[in-house]
């Protein structure tokens, strides 16, 4: 037994982070966090990434967590440093991402006095963190930070902020990592075979002839891919995925129907509408996947397997709620139903055939089926990035990080994700500017993988300053800017719902190639379909960061689309007389 050393609060912080397994911290120094940065050099096992804006730090920690499953850590000084983390914390909160944010705070002696760079960050972040702490004593740092990690990764994960006053950073205390361990806890009691809810769930599954599994982000967070696939395969139940659930079930899996919701495929949404049982696995019936709730899957029973009880009966009434970790629940449920499988399968196979038959007409209107007519469509770019990775055998080694908007939906439609954590995207908050910094986090977490940023010309400009961070860290990140000269999704809504009044949606961009070159990043313009694949290959194999500015069709739309207030089956399809398609035919 070694005796426990007396360290400064700053040293205790780094030692605790290291003890929790942190190897990478994304941050930006400043006055109230200087003691912590001073102590950094004593902890060579931790790599600090200097960002260009604290928002970038929070998205990087988020991207790191999404790509690796580990807790992402970011750091900022008090005041403006802390407030710049807010968007990233809210992004992580809405998508249940485990993250710990450390902020410096003014000395406890002047707390509440509007001291220089003082802001009540625990007050500000109260509703956008899973929990937060203000630490004013050096001896509280280790137990608080350890508890923060436990809270961030347990139950339904989320971001936790620890605000540490400057005097706590400077004071000394005895450091005992093991004694600082928080009391482990189970967020919910274990379900057992005797529970009424389990028996009811079994009865519903046995009675169902047209079941659909709704596969959400919870599958990834619970690590329940194998269990869900086993469940679906054994009972022959088709699977529809949420945006954040993409990749949890491989796109190539015969039971995988595709993405549901506002821009989901028609056969997926129709299957949900016509189902007689929905098995919601780790998803929360967000308004973007349900459409009009009054007409949502009207004839189905719903079994909601969910770790957060406050999500149950929030939007959609569950006939049976199974509260708990998805993997645990499925491990309990599955053996109990093996007896009647044979009988069930026959009905389900007929149901799957019916769904597959309904795919027919959908493909006709799909822009991806257009012959190369000299026009470049975003769908083509994304399809070709996917095909290139597949041809190179790198598909499962590719992480796509998207921004928010049209390109995000096209990515979800046309990039076929085969592995969990291969898509990093801001779903709940829909944070523009997320892609570039989140990709830095993802690449730091997975240096061996091919990381692609797919961003629009609008969102890319929000956080483009992080190009410097890419160069500084020598990360071989590839950037595909889908450039249509518009805030595309806004433009599409204005086209559809605001009589084509394109108010503030056309956006001027700099020459992205010159911008990249100014950072020392190789870059090129692509405006012809034939150039896409060779350029993508060049970027992927360059071993260095590479930016491609894809000049795509300006007024393309994402289809199918469900208008706000419309039911899930009332999809707006790509018009047969779409000017884009007509132009294509003319030429």
């Amino acid at each position: 037994m070694s005796t426990h050393p007396t360290l400064t609060g700053s040293e205790i912080l780094w030692a605790t982070l290291a003890g929790e397994g942190t190897t990478t911290v994304f941050g930006y120094p400043g006055g109230a966090i200087l003691p912590i940065y001073d102590a950094l050099r004593k902890f060579p096992s931790i790599h600090h990434v200097l960002v260009r804006h604290e928002q970038g730090a929070s998205h990087m920690a988020d991207g790191y967590a999404r790509a690796s499953g580990k807790v992402g850590v970011c750091m900022a000084t008090s005041g403006p440093g802390a407030t710049n983390l807010v968007t990233g914390l809210a992004t992580a909160m809405l998508d249940s991402i485990p993250m710990v944010a450390i902020t410096g705070q003014v000395s406890s002696k002047v707390l509440g006095s509007d001291a220089f760079q003082e802001v009540d960050i625990t007050g500000i972040t109260l509703p956008i963190t899973k929990h937060n702490f203000l630490v004013t004593k050096a001896e509280d740092i280790a137990p608080t930070v350890r508890l923060a990690f436990q809270i961030a990764r347990s139950g339904r994960p989320g971001p936790v902020l620890v605000d540490i006053t400057k005097d706590a950073q400077q004071a000394s205390a005895v450091f005992d990592f093991d004694m600082s361990k928080p009391k482990p806890y189970r967020p919910h009691p274990m379900l057992s075979a005797e529970d009424t809810s389990i028996r009811e769930a079994l009865a519903l599954v046995k009675a169902a002839k047209r079941p659909v599994i709704l596969a959400g982000h919870g599958i990834v967070e619970s690590g329940a891919q194998r269990e869900v696939i086993q469940f679906a395969e054994t009972l022959q139940i088709p699977i529809a995925s949420t945006l954040l659930g993409l990749g949890a079930i491989p796109a190539a899996h015969p039971l995988q129907l595709g993405m549901m919701g506002m821009h989901g495929e028609s056969w997926v949404n129709n299957a949900i509408q016509q189902a007689d049982l929905l098995l919601a696995f780790g998803m929360r019936f967000d308004d973007r996947v349900t459409g009009n709730l009054a007409h949502y899957s009207p004839n189905s029973k719903k079994i909601h397997v969910e770790i957060d009880p406050s999500e149950v009966n929030k939007n959609v009434r569950a006939d049976v709620a199974l509260i708990g970790d998805l993997k645990e629940v499925l491990n309990l449920l599955f053996p109990l139903m093996t007896a009647e499988i044979g009988e069930l399968k026959a009905d389900h196979i007929a149901w799957i055939k019916e769904i597959n038959a309904s795919k027919g007409t959908a493909a006709v209107r799909d822009i991806i089926n257009l012959p190369d007519n000299g026009h470049l469509y975003a769908a083509h770019v994304i399809h070709d990035i996917w095909r290139e990775a597949q041809a190179a055998g790198r598909l499962e080694q590719t992480i796509i990080v998207t921004d928010v908007g049209q390109h995000q939906m096209w990515e979800a439609q046309y990039f076929k994700h085969e592995a969990p954590r291969s898509l990093v995207t801001s779903g709940g908050l829909g944070t523009m500017g997320f892609a570039l910094p989140a990709a830095i986090g993802a690449q730091m977490a997975c240096p061996e993988k091919d990381v692609w940023v797919i961003a629009g010309d609008g969102g890319f400009q929000m956080t483009a300053s992080e190009l410097s961070t890419i160069v500084q860290e020598q990360l071989p990140i590839n950037v595909a800017v889908i450039n249509n000269g518009f805030l595309g999704m806004v433009r599409q809504w204005q086209e559809t719902f605001y009589d084509k009044n394109y108010s503030a949606s056309p956006i001027l961009s700099p020459d992205f190639v010159m911008l990249a070159n100014a950072h020392g990043i190789d870059a090129t313009n692509v405006s012809q379909r034939a150039d896409v694949t060779p350029t993508v290959t060049k970027a992927r194999t360059s071993g260095k960061p590479f930016l491609i500015n894809f000049a795509v069709e300006k007024e393309d739309g994402v289809y199918p689309m469900i208008a706000p207030g419309a039911a899930l089956h009332e999809m707006v399809r790509r018009p047969v007389h779409d000017p884009l398609l007509e132009t294509a035919e003319d030429e």
């Binding site: 625990t122 482990p184 274990m190 009009n292 406050s310 149950v312 207030g565």
Partner: protein, 210 residues
């Protein structure tokens, strides 16, 4: 309808804000909220009375459990719990006031009938202390006002509630009643017991989003 929740929460700074902020976010008005010490040295006990639709109870309870500082939440209704409130009432009772010098003896009589106590006598006023259900307190106030007394000040604590009989939830049983007896690995919520009556009706669900 009125919902009454009894919550055991960590006795730490900022916990009240977290609870109050949750109701703000759900846009639910708090009718009364009392906080004080409990039988556990590390926990405060809150009784929260709020006005919310009947089907909101599950959501509120589940949201309270989401707070890391929440130990236990129980919704109690009048039938199964003792619900009490403490009220201090200051009534003008000097020679110049409506009932003049007789006012005091009349107030003393009213106090006896309502089982209230006189806790302060000043030249110009009398202070009454009363404990009871909210309706009894409102009864006394109504009588005072209708009889023409000048009620100068009213201070009510808001409701406090405790279930009748020997009642221990599975969570509290697991935690034990003393702070130091908390075992490891025990569930920290009993939200599993979904009350089917608490489920929202389909027509009460929101139907439209932007």
């Amino acid at each position: 309808m009125l919902h009454t929740f009894v919550a055991l929460v960590d006795d730490k700074p900022g916990v009240l804000t977290r609870v109050a902020s949750l109701f703000r976010r759900l846009s639910i008005n708090i009718v009364s909220l009392t906080v004080g010490e409990s039988e556990r040295s590390d926990a405060s006990r809150m009784t929260i009375v709020c006005e919310a639709p009947e089907n909101a109870a599950h959501r509120i309870r589940a949201s309270l459990y989401k707070l890391e500082t929440t130990i236990h939440v129980d919704e109690v209704n009048r039938a199964e719990a003792v619900v009490r409130e403490l009220c201090l009432i200051k009534v003008a009772a000097g020679p110049q006031h409506p009932h003049g010098v007789h006012s005091r003896s009349q107030i003393f009589e009213l106090a006896t009938v309502f089982r209230a106590r006189i806790v302060d006598l000043a030249p110009e006023s009398v202070m009454l202390e009363m404990t009871g259900s909210a309706s009894k307190i409102e009864g006394l106030l109504q009588v005072l006002r209708e009889t023409g007394y000048d009620v100068l000040e009213v201070s009510r604590t808001g409701r406090m509630a405790m279930r009748r009989g020997l009642h221990t939830s599975r969570v509290l049983k697991a935690l034990g009643t003393k702070a130091d007896s908390s075992p490891l690995n025990e569930p920290t919520t009993d939200i599993l017991d979904l009350d089917p009556d608490a489920l929202p009706e389909d027509d009460k669900l929101p139907t439209e989003f932007d």
